[in-house]
Symmetry: C2
Subunit: 326 residues, 2 copies
């Protein structure tokens, strides 16, 4: 009797398992349009041992841009919100900022006027807010800030402004033996404190722009001090350089987005790897659920068409954009 | 009856499992001296869930110096043998080298005279032999070279000049959920082509010194060209900087060796991490089986004594140094 009951339990488990496997869609927030089908087909062919397109697990490197690809970058990149809040917090120690651009405009709440100074203004803001402290102190600032700061239009914490379909894609790739990396123009030390919790991507798999640091002994303890000196800009043609520097091999899957042409070189670099590869370009065409924006020169979409990269329409291909959507 | 038999089978499996666990020594090339005991005790306490010293797997970062810690660095660092062979191969295209130091001495086989020029001479050799080609071309050169090049005294391939106890330590740590990294003053692009096969450490877990690279399109394909410009020197106080840049968190275990004081800052940085940490300093005191050498100022051993770091005597603590030993 016991044996029969055991067999029945075993059968029930097997049946339940089969049912679960079939019912479980690894990409539930994606519509059943061409991109989802192509992603699943790609993952299946590179993971099928013995198949012509098989790629061993150690070579299954996937690189993702962050701003506009994994999380929202409008009305402006989230790191800039952090920088502006830092400017406000530091203003009492800098009375001279009242008459000095770009700080004067920022403190009046006029981001547009502050940014009129272009790259130079941006660099001044970053240097004033991201340097002079130790790496540990900066990490704490970022953690404290991101725990409470909210997006101006959705009023959601910034960590909820991540694209649910991409969260599912990252998890799906990892479940299939891929190692997922961020390769972003954003600051490496701004991303690392939260990417593991939000994306499941540990600090050592985050590639980004950075300033130089200096090793020092303070009170008998070694610290790294963040200097006001650029180390590396991980954008555009810097992305393949950053990938080579940090990862040391070409990705077989790369994802970027339409905004500034910042991911074209990375996707091209990915595609130059021998064997099966996949390139995704997220297109921000959903004004109702997110933001709709394009590039003045349309460079990313042109490159996608010319090279056969997958364009993901947020409007047509994503069932849900944010997890908080009703 | 069936149930009883099943129980017996289960018991047999459990007993066999216990026996196997006890019989399998993960560090068979280590003598049963203090270092081996301390390593095993450390790994057991940081991996024991619920224990006060428990460290979650994602934070189990271990960083290893390469030259003199994982493989032999005498009579000179192995990368220098590669550079010298490249100088010989390139000499026909550089008739001017016959009268130009450090190349003239090198081509006469007088390494000592060539190195009289100090760091500047070394840099000239590295620039002449490690730059001007693409990253892919350089990778192929390293792979071709290391497949056949041999150590001058042992006549063994350089990839056999690795320390067997350290190979076992790397594997033991990984089996316990650690992520193992190389953090070396050597060239990152010189190490990556072979570290995965030899140490089980993939390219993305190799940190080293590097030159700058530039992204270019050649015949419609993106390539990274190696420029004659230093990007980063991953030695001494540069090691914590390199760890922060690549890994973004402090290691809980770091291993270096006595030679040039090159690992002191890394071990100090590791030790500054809150919670349980372990630092190892390999001491080259076995002239019979390897090479015996010390530092003129004894800085590494002094730092080890002052900070309570484990000193590993190759003579006393290693049963076997190289796998090819009889």
């Amino acid at each position: 009797m016991k044996t029969i009951r055991n067999k029945f339990v075993l059968l029930a488990i097997v049946v339940a398992g089969l049912t679960t496997t079939h019912a479980q869609d690894p990409l539930p927030s994606w519509n059943d349009t061409a991109p989802k089908k192509a992603i699943v087909a790609f993952v299946e062919k590179v993971t099928k041992e013995g198949a012509p397109d098989f790629v061993p697990p150690n070579e299954r490197i996937a690189t993702f841009d962050n701003d506009g690809t994994l999380w929202c970058e409008k009305p402006m990149p989230i790191q800039l919100f952090f920088a502006l809040d830092r400017v406000k917090a530091l203003a009492p120690q800098h009375p001279e900022w009242k008459d000095k651009e770009p700080f004067a405009s920022l403190l009046k709440g006029d981001v547009k006027a502050a940014m009129a100074g272009g790259e130079h203004a941006l660099l001044e803001i970053i240097m004033a807010t991201h340097t002079g402290m130790t790496v540990g102190e900066f990490e704490k600032m970022v953690k404290d800030w991101i725990a409470t700061a909210k997006h101006p239009t959705t009023k959601q914490p910034f960590t909820k402004m991540v694209y649910q379909p991409m969260i599912e894609l990252l998890a799906y790739l990892r479940a299939n033996g891929f190692k997922t990396f961020i390769v972003s123009g954003g600051g490496i030390e701004f991303m690392r404190p939260w990417t593991e919790g939000v994306y499941g991507i540990p600090p050592e798999q985050v590639v980004g722009s950075s300033g130089k640091t200096k090793y020092e002994m303070r009170d008998g303890q070694p610290v790294l001090v963040k200097l006001a000196e650029i180390n590396f800009i991980d954008d555009k043609e810097g992305k393949p350089v950053g990938i080579n520097q940090h990862i040391g091999r070409k990705p077989i899957l790369s994802a970027g987005n339409v905004f500034s042409g910042g991911d074209i070189a990375m996707l091209r670099y990915c595609q130059s790897r021998p064997g099966a590869t996949l390139q995704l370009m997220v297109n921000h065409d959903d004004a109702a659920r997110e933001f709709a924006y394009a590039e003045p020169d349309n460079a990313s979409l042109k490159a996608a068409a010319a090279n056969g990269w997958m364009v993901v329409s947020m409007k047509d291909d994503w069932k849900k954009i944010f997890a908080f959507e009703k």
